[in-house]
Amino acid sequence: MGEVGCSARVQREAMAHDVAKDIAALVKGLATTFKHLGRPATTVQYPEEKRPVSPRYRGRHMLMRYEDGLERCIGCSLCAGACPSRAIYVEAAENTDGERHSPGERYARRYEINLIRCIFCGMCEEVCPTQAIVLGHDYELADYDRADFIYTKERLLVPQPTKGPTSPPTPSPTRGGGWVR
């Protein structure tokens, strides 16, 4: 019991110490506040304002075209094979001289990415032999309906270049990513 009584002084000293510490902390904290008072704000007014992303940022996919407007995608399905979350679905079909989508024999009739499944790892881009699928910088991917997260070929394909193809493209030995036809 005596031990409690004898500690009254010690308790008092400790209390004074705590108060001092609190005040010091307060001052320190306010110092940071005051320090920033005059500086410009770092908060970005999203969505009115957007922060730039790094060049290697992996956002929404795009299906690219050659300069002459032909699709780069040949429907080879390698992206689907490489995709760790099995988010890509490709259905290929044959080009005809009357209806030509890509150089060579084959093009993607359907090309779909399920962006809910996609983990944006970039494997599809890595594996693409024609550099057709590219992860872009678009990250605003919210939507109201789950079905709308399945991005179809029409949504993924970049628009036709403004000046259309001047002549029917002729297969050349190499074009695009060193893929040899």
């Binding site: 040949i74 080879c76 094979g81 290929a92 079909a93 024999e105 084959r106 024609t130 893929w179 040899v180």
Partner: protein, 760 residues
């Protein structure tokens, strides 16, 4: 062992049979030797030069495929010279091979890709422009050729020449301009052409049907069976997106030897058909409307009940397709006999043929047993049309030294491979067959020991064929007597001999007598019950043998009804008599049938246009149509029940050599369709019986318990390769040939005069 040689391959010592080539020997040793042109089923040509190995004490490198093992041979597959030579070959091959793997259907499962990855050099030094051709060019409706990709291993041409026995595909030009081709304007029209796609080690020959449909990594594979004919070739079903994208061979040496015919390989499109039945339908006034299963089954049961109670079970008929699985057939006959109480049950719409008096009614030997035959009599059978892959087996037997005797008025495909081709005049097949019996008897070529020990009734036979002298037979058949003599001698003395005939031959008068004479021939010469010696009545439909085994016809012993306690019951409640399919159709035309249950059968589709039949169907009180695709009979149906296709269900099929083989579900049935056995089961329950099978294997277990020939069979035992019934009671293993064991019963020569020999 004398016939084994000890070889060392990369330090591994193995004993292999003498005469084996080094590629196979290395496989046994667990060493891979890369190949392109070599294929175990084809003769080695040594064209691709990929399979180099170094052999101790032999200078340089040699090709493994053309080198056979010798005792004490020491082989090195990793010698620096070998590595360099193989890199060289791959560099040569790739010099002109386009690197279009991403669009090539073979990409991902391509031996050239694999071998390049495994044995090729890092870069190519080829800087000249590559060879370019117009591509692809169609060799046929089914097969496309990309000449840029061809590496000229000649597997396709060799398959056609060595296995299929034709030159429908050939090689043209010389040197670097060599191409695979056909004469301009000529199609690659072999009935086995699809095998070349599978043999092609690159994407040079590709399937037009499979073109760009899938890549190997987005395919799901499942084992299955081809249901196009009675051979029962084993297939691999590749599916994508709930569709079959292709069928590949799943080698079963005993059945198909690794080959498929084009009908089987490309004939799957019905399963993908957009019109597949996916929903039960019931009649509402003049049209059918979709219904739920409960309603459809209720309506079907009500309809049947009503007819049975008002007009008696004798006015109900059940027609089943011989392409349905054993499980479906078994339940169908139980439903008919035990539940509905009718024996108006059949798998045929045409009259039954006369068959050999030997029982059981099945081929006595095995398909692979034909390879052991020295003589094969092919009597009025055209396997190319009805059992195509068996045609290949018969050609293989011929190439192994069997003498084929073709008896056919028409020039069948096998006639070109036959030692003798006898062309009896139309309608004289029986005379010819009896002439052969006469000759064997007259020439004393009878296998007396066998006849004495195993048969009875030879004297009656002798008397019956006494008049069929070669001169008379020659006169009435138009086959010269010396040819008859040669055929009889081959059959009797160049044994073992097998006799192959079309089971449907017995449907014609002369054919019926010929079938009986064929049995006599087999018994006289003792050619039955051994390897290479047998009687092969060839059935046509995929599970026709199963339908025979399970008694899917009236006036034939039916499987006993299992007792409620699970043991074997009796035939109680199985009505005797009953109408065959042909008789039912007659009754239908006459308005005597009131209810019909069609399982996978559509008389309006399968028979020539028949007004009376259509009227008969229209006049039915109840017409239940169970099928997978729409057909004309459905328009008249009161209830339509959607079934499952062969690759969407479990079950077993029995092929022409009594081999019970399994089906596996590769896909779910479309929509609300169900496997046929399940529909029958559900219908029986709707009729108030206590059918209780949870899965297909339960049905099969019951078949095995009540059908003597299927005793001991289980799904596990059937496995991936199938089992030939019957199983040996003691060992549980395949018993092999029928009629092997003499037992007590003697085999009888044709018991009655041919003119009255109609059985069934």
């Amino acid at each position: 062992m004398d016939n084994l040689a000890t070889v060392t391959i990369d330090g591994r010592v193995v004993k292999v049979p003498r005469g084996m080539n080094l590629v196979e020997a290395a496989r046994l040793a667990g060493v891979e030797i890369p190949v392109f042109c070599y294929h175990s089923k084809l003769k080695p040509v040594g064209a691709c030069r990929m399979c180099y190995v170094a052999i101790e004490k032999v200078p340089g490198v040699v090709t493994a495929c053309t080198t056979t093992v010798t005792d004490g041979m020491v082989v090195n597959t990793k010698d620096p010279r070998v590595v360099k030579a193989q890199q060289g070959v791959l560099e040569f091959l790739l010099a002109n091979h386009p690197l279009d793997c991403p669009v090539c259907d073979r990409g991902g499962e391509c031996p050239l890709q694999n071998n390049t990855f495994g044995y090729g050099g890092p870069v190519s030094r080829y800087v000249e422009p590559k060879r370019h051709f117009a591509k692809p060019i169609p060799l046929s409706r089914r097969i496309l050729l990309d000449r840029e990709r061809c590496i000229l291993c000649y597997r396709c041409v060799r398959f056609q020449k060595e296995i299929a026995g034709d030159e429908t595909l050939t090689v043209i030009n010389r040197g670097a301009r060599v191409e695979i081709a056909t004469l301009p304007g000529r199609e690659f029209d072999s009935p086995f052409s699809g095998n070349t796609i599978e043999l092609c080690p690159v994407g040079a020959l590709t399937s037009a049907l499979y073109r760009f449909k899938a890549r190997p990594w987005d395919i799901r594979s499942s084992p299955s069976l081809c249901d196009q004919c009675s051979v029962g070739c084993n297939v691999r079903v590749d599916t994508r997106n709930r569709q079959i994208v292709r069928l590949l061979s799943r080698e079963n040496a005993a059945v198909d030897d690794g080959w498929l015919c084009d009908r089987g390989r490309f004939g799957y499109e019905f399963a993908n058909h957009p019109d597949r039945l996916t929903q039960p339908q019931v009649r509402e006034g003049t049209r059918l409307r979709a219904a739920e299963w409960e309603e459809a089954l209720y309506q079907a049961a009500q309809g049947l009940r009503q007819v049975v109670s008002q007009r008696g079970p004798g006015t109900v008929g059940v027609l089943v397709s011989p392409r349905l699985a054993n499980e479906d057939l078994y339940l169908a006959q139980r439903l008919a006999r035990a539940v509905i109480g009718t024996s108006n049950l059949d798998y045929r719409l045409t009259p039954h043929p006369t068959v050999s008096p030997l029982r059981p009614d099945a081929a006595s030997g095995s398909i692979v047993g034909l390879e052991k035959a020295r003589t094969i009599l092919i009597l009025g059978a055209d396997p190319l049309n009805h059992q195509p892959v068996l045609d290949l087996r018969l050609k293989k037997a011929a190439s192994l030294g069997a003498r084929l005797i073709v008896v056919d008025e028409k020039q069948t495909d096998l006639a070109a491979f036959a030692r003798l081709w006898l062309r009896p005049r139309s309608g004289s097949l029986d005379t010819l067959a009896r002439g052969l019996v006469h000759l064997i008897l007259a020439n004393g070529q009878v296998n007396q020991e066998f006849v004495d020990r195993r048969t009875e009734g030879i004297d009656a036979l002798r008397a019956r064929v006494a008049d069929d002298t070669p001169e008379r037979v020659a006169a009435s058949t138009g086959v010269p007597a010396p040819l008859l003599e040669q055929a009889a001698t081959l059959l009797a003395t160049n044994g073992p001999a097998s006799i192959v005939y079309d089971r449907d031959l017995g449907a014609s008068d002369d054919g019926a007598a010929a079938v009986l004479a064929a049995t006599d021939l087999a018994l006289l010469t003792g050619n039955i019950g051994r390897d290479g010696a047998g009687l092969y009545p060839l059935v046509r439909a995929a599970n026709e043998q199963g339908a025979l085994d399970l008694g899917l016809m009236p006036r034939r012993p039916s499987p006993p009804t299992p007792s409620p306690t699970g043991g074997e019951g009796g035939h109680a409640g199985c009505p005797a008599g009953g109408m065959t399919g042909a008789e039912m159709l007659d009754a239908l035309r006459a308005g005597q049938l009131k209810a019909l249950y069609l399982l996978g059968v559509d008389p309006l589709r399968e028979l020539p246009d028949d007004r009376a039949l259509r009227d008969g169907l229209t006049g039915l009180t109840t017409l239940i149509v169970q099928d997978i695709l729409p057909g004309p009979a459905q328009e008249l149906a009161t209830v339509v029940l959607p079934g499952a296709a062969f690759h969407e269900r479990e079950g077993t099929l029995t092929n022409l050599e009594r081999r019970v083989q399994r089906l596996w579900p590769a896909l779910k049935p479309p929509g609300k369709a169900r496997p046929d056995w399940q529909i029958i089961h559900d219908l029986a329950r709707a009729l108030g019986t206590s059918f209780d099978y949870a899965q297909a294997s339960d049905v099969f277990a019951e078949i095995a318990s009540v059908v003597p020939t299927y005793r001991g069979l289980t799904y596990g035992k059937v496995g991936l390769k199938g089992v030939q019934w019957p199983l040996d009671v003691a060992s549980g293993q395949e018993a092999g040939s029928l009629y092997e064991d003499p037992g007590d019963t003697r085999l009888a020569f044709t018991p009655v005069a041919p003119s009255t020999a109609r059985i069934v």
